[in-house]
């Protein structure tokens, strides 16, 4: 995409927690940004532009927080953009930043995404509604659980698939010091015995609410060639959106997701994602979204996603590990979650994923989605230049 190559040369993120009571909003964001700069061995003055993203401002009660955060992110005197594309925002933010490099406009861009949602309450912020609109009384889970039921019916999947994903992702998280949830005793029985929240979703099949931030330094080729640690090269990037409700909409396997994936694969020269990619960080906030997205992202035929999960293909030891970091099921600062996917997958192909490094990962997919399964942003990154 674009005439200029773009690479990730620095990644930083906070240790995601339910409440970060030790920092201000600026402090939280700064921590991730400093981490990325240190990884890239850059100074604030080296950064040409800042692209920040987060979910609705009501979470923190600060409107257009890029204004308040300009100083904290070294943006004074520089261009600053604030992206907001609902849950996919962390991903879109990274893509807007990459776009600046690929267009040859800036050489070094700092991109950050965050949420300090403990300042209010995620359920409240997501369900604020103006008068005349039907309230989402059951929250996000109440919106997605019916879609999951529809998937189960369409595919004939057995009941235990969702729980397998929950166990897998939380087990992976045990290797990730930044993950919010560390549940060493997690197993199928523990998940099954957890309260059923929105049938068929149980408590332990649901993402947590986290405070956290994630940042990356994206640069052009010349700078990346001189970077202190291996870069992750952007091989393809794409965004797609479709309306929330329309006649004939497939909410379970949305076309916007399929087309976004097809676009990013075409750019990256991926024809068979399961075979051509080494791993993926995919936005799975509720367990059953893994089999649904396996189909949506072309890792298998429609209706077969649950079989891949059941066979262990997406496990850390499997042939196509999904969410080796623990995923959204293990950490969910809403505005940052998409960027965490993009950053963690970059770390995989850089060989810097530490305790949850997928051996030999050289090409991988980062994915984020938002709204009523309607906004998608994705990238494919690789160890080698595209």
């Amino acid at each position: 995409m674009g005439a200029h190559r773009c690479a990730v040369v620095g990644v930083g993120q906070t240790r995601h927690k339910a409440v970060r009571a030790d920092v201000s909003i600026a402090g939280l964001v700064r921590e991730a940004a400093m981490g990325a700069l240190e990884d890239a061995e850059m100074e604030w003055r080296d950064v040409d532009a800042v692209v920040i993203g987060k979910a609705p401002d009501m979470f923190e009660g600060v409107m257009m927080p890029e204004l308040y955060l300009a100083d904290a992110l070294g943006a004074v005197g520089k261009p600053m953009i604030r992206v907001h594309t609902a849950g996919s925002v962390g991903g879109s933010t990274a893509l807007v930043a990459a776009g600046l490099v690929e267009a040859g406009i800036h050489e070094r861009v700092l991109t950050v995404a965050f949420e300090k949602q403990s300042e209010s309450d995620a359920m409240w912020a997501l369900t604020v509604h103006p008068p005349f609109q039907a309230p989402l009384v059951a929250g996000a889970g109440g919106y997605f659980a019916p879609l999951i039921r529809a998937y189960i019916r369409r595919s004939g999947a057995p009941d235990h698939i969702g729980m397998m994903v929950a166990v897998k992702d939380r087990t992976n998280a045990l290797r990730n010091p930044n993950a919010h949830l560390h549940l060493p005793d997690i197993d199928m029985k523990m998940v099954e015995e957890s309260p059923m929240l929105w049938e068929p979703l149980r408590y332990l099949e649901t993402c947590p609410s986290s405070d956290g931030a994630c940042a990356m330094v994206l640069t052009g080729e010349r700078v990346a060639d001189g970077a202190p640690r291996p870069p992750a090269w952007v091989h393809g990037s794409a965004m797609r959106s479709e309306p929330t409700i329309f006649a004939g909409r497939d909410q379970v396997n949305p076309r916007a997701g399929r087309e976004c994936a097809a676009d990013v694969y075409a750019q990256a020269g991926v024809t068979d994602p399961r075979r051509d990619l080494d791993c993926a960080e995919v936005y799975v906030p509720f367990s059953w979204f893994e089999p649904m997205w396996l189909e949506n992202l072309g890792f298998c035929a429609e209706g077969e996603g649950w079989k891949l999960t059941e066979a262990g293909a997406t496990a850390f030891e499997g042939d196509i590990p999904w969410n080796p970091s623990g995923g959204v099921l293990s950490s969910n600062p809403i505005g940052a979650s998409g960027m965490i996917r993009f950053a963690e997958i970059a770390q995989q192909v850089r060989g810097l994923a530490g305790g949850f490094q997928v051996e030999g990962a050289r090409r991988a997919l980062g994915h984020a989605y938002g709204g009523g399964s309607q906004f998608f942003s994705m990238w494919v990154v690789g160890t080698d230049k595209p």
């Binding site: 401002d57 797609r240 479709e242 309306p243």
Partner: protein, 350 residues
């Protein structure tokens, strides 16, 4: 850089549009811009919008706006929680990639539903400033007085900006202020937060705007006289009022320099000055002399649909180029308290 031009622009403003919600206001504006562009809706390569959840009082308010554009089959689409001018910037960047040739940009906001000046308080430092609830007019007054005292200008100079803007607005069917008044008349108004009077402040407005951008030969095919974006840049300043010189707009100066404002004479400038004194500060920052026709549309003092006002400046400046009234135009957009964040765009005919 790939040549990108504004090939169509549409807007709709009302002092209060009580009957229509944001989507109902936006849809005809988007339709009009697309129709004027000559590009089929499905051929648009990218869509980007600017809006703000707090104006509607609900999160994800931009999502319903997607209904206005017919996003099917799925579209390449993005959104900034900033004025549509920044959405235009993102679209301009996107067009540089070369894989798509056109983009739709829109911005919208209804400010009649709440107290905009108070809502904007939520942009402020959450620890030291916001809890005191200094509204936007109050902050503007601080900057206005500082500017007047630093330059020796007076309240009459502010009133003359307003008088000129209102007179210009009489010729703008999209203005929501329709009453020309003299500086003397306005100086007889009591101040609201001194030195500012109600007429120094922007009008409550519900509205939307849309711009279609096209690149290279595509723009030439579509439009007899595309308004080419010759330079576009934006810069942000320190947040705290005490940490920057509020009598000047350094970020506007810098963005203007990067956009190449000073490279050639400017005929028209559309400046996103929500308050009268801001126009004077911005003129200084951009080095705009007496011969420049500033805000022939009447500017933000004529209509202020928050989140679209900056985009409208670009549309209006582009229209002056496209209709032959200007060879070279400057458009400016602003965000944040007391001109903290500024975007400058230079537009030229071929």
């Amino acid at each position: 850089m790939r040549d990108v031009a504004v090939v169509a622009f549409a807007q709709s403003n009302a002092a209060t549009d009580a009957h229509r919600n944001e989507v109902e206001i936006l849809m005809p504006v988007v339709t009009e811009a697309i129709d004027r562009s000559g590009i089929g809706r499905h051929d648009l390569g990218f869509v980007c919008s600017g809006s703000c959840d707090y104006l509607i009082g609900a999160p994800f308010s931009f999502v319903q706006a997607l209904d206005a554009i017919g996003a099917w089959p799925p579209v390449r689409e993005s959104h900034v929680e900033q004025d549509g001018a920044w959405a235009l910037y993102e679209a301009w960047v996107r067009l540089q990639h070369g894989d798509v040739d056109s983009a739709l940009v829109y911005g919208f906001g209804k400010t009649s539903m709440g107290d905009l000046s108070e809502v904007l308080t939520l942009q402020l430092d959450p620890y030291f400033v916001a809890p005191l609830w200094p509204d936007a007019v109050s902050l503007a007054a601080l900057q206005a007085r500082a500017y007047l005292e630093a330059t020796g200008k007076g309240e009459r100079d502010l009133a003359e900006v307003v008088a000129r803007s209102r007179a210009a607005a009489m010729g703008n069917p999209h203005a929501v202020v329709h009453e020309a008044r003299s500086a003397d008349e306005m100086l007889r108004e009591p101040t609201v937060v001194s030195p500012l009077r109600p007429s120094d402040c922007p009008p409550v407005t519900d509205g939307a705007a849309a711009v279609v951008l096209a690149a290279g030969d595509r723009a030439r095919e579509l439009c007899e006289r595309p308004a080419w974006i010759r330079g576009i840049d934006h810069r942000i300043e320190a947040h705290a009022l005490g940490c920057r010189d509020i009598t000047r707009s350094e970020s506007t100066r810098l963005a203007g320099e990067r956009a190449g404002v000073g490279d050639a004479p400017v005929d028209v400038a559309e400046l996103h000055a929500q308050f009268s004194h801001e126009e004077l500060i911005l003129r200084d920052a951009l080095g705009l002399g007496e011969r420049v026709d500033v805000n022939p549309s009447g500017g933000a003092l004529a209509a202020n649909p928050m989140m679209a006002t900056g985009l409208i400046r670009i549309g209006e400046a582009a229209s002056r180029v496209s209709d032959g009234g200007a060879r070279r135009a400057v458009a400016h957009a602003s965000s944040g308290p007391c001109l903290q964040h500024n975007l400058v765009c230079v537009l030229e005919g071929e």
